[in-house]
Symmetry: C2
Subunit: 146 residues, 2 copies
């Protein structure tokens, strides 16, 4: 009648994401980062300074989630937030030297995670692409601006 969670794709996805968080936690804890903060730091380090909207498009998050998260990271001294001079509605984000140094340290974390998965690089890439495609079918990315 009712399907058990263990038989559902959605629960496998849900619980695998939780297990991934748990696997990342000990890798990020020495850096003082949470997982979403690690994503923000990586996005800014890899893709350069950007607005809250652009970061949100990259991470699929809205300002109601990002604003408090970014404020905490600003307080920690990792990034700066400043209204764009040309368009005061936007807030431009930039890494501080401290933030860049932390991002450099955090760059080694994905390797450590890959080892924990027990998958080889081809399997990693295949699964990543399958999941990204599923995500985009479920929730198309909104286009990003300026």
């Amino acid at each position: 009648m009712t399907l058990a969670p263990s038989d559902m794709l959605c629960f496998a996805l849900h619980s695998a994401a939780h297990a991934m968080h748990a696997a990342y936690a000990p890798l990020l804890e020495p850096l003082g980062l949470t997982y979403p903060q690690y994503l923000v730091l990586s996005a800014l380090a890899a893709q350069g300074d950007q607005t809250v909207g652009q970061l949100g498009a990259a991470l699929r998050l809205e300002s109601n989630t990002l604003t408090p998260l970014l404020k905490r990271m600003e307080t920690a001294g990792w990034l700066t937030r400043a209204r764009d001079r040309a368009d005061e509605r936007q807030v431009r984000l930039g890494l501080t030297d401290q933030g860049r140094a932390l991002a450099a340290r955090a760059a080694t974390v994905p390797r450590a995670f890959v080892e924990k998965t027990g998958l080889d690089l081809t399997e990693i890439a295949d699964l990543r692409d399958i999941l990204a495609a599923l995500r985009d079918r479920l929730k198309p990315a909104r286009e990003q601006r300026s």
Copy 2:
């Protein structure tokens, strides 16, 4: 240097799980259920009455998450919580008639989700098993008792 989130397996997993939640939300909203509540209801309906610990083993959640969640569901009239007579440390959970009726209605939800994914049943099962295996490698399930 730093990998962008879009290139990471972890972000694909993270964002796919978020997209899955977003896809479930409109299916569950008419039932008044959140996604974790839906999992609890499904687990109790499929696997019968059980203790908090057993439910936690099935859903990979601890009492610090489950207790408030279960209390909200008890308040909503979907389940009962009662100390086990034989072992008063344990709390036994049971669906009410109202909870069983809601679970029956919710049983149609996975079909609707599968349609949204655009995957066929074989692909669904394959991906589910890959993710469950990854989850169990990252975080072995703790054994469950009584």
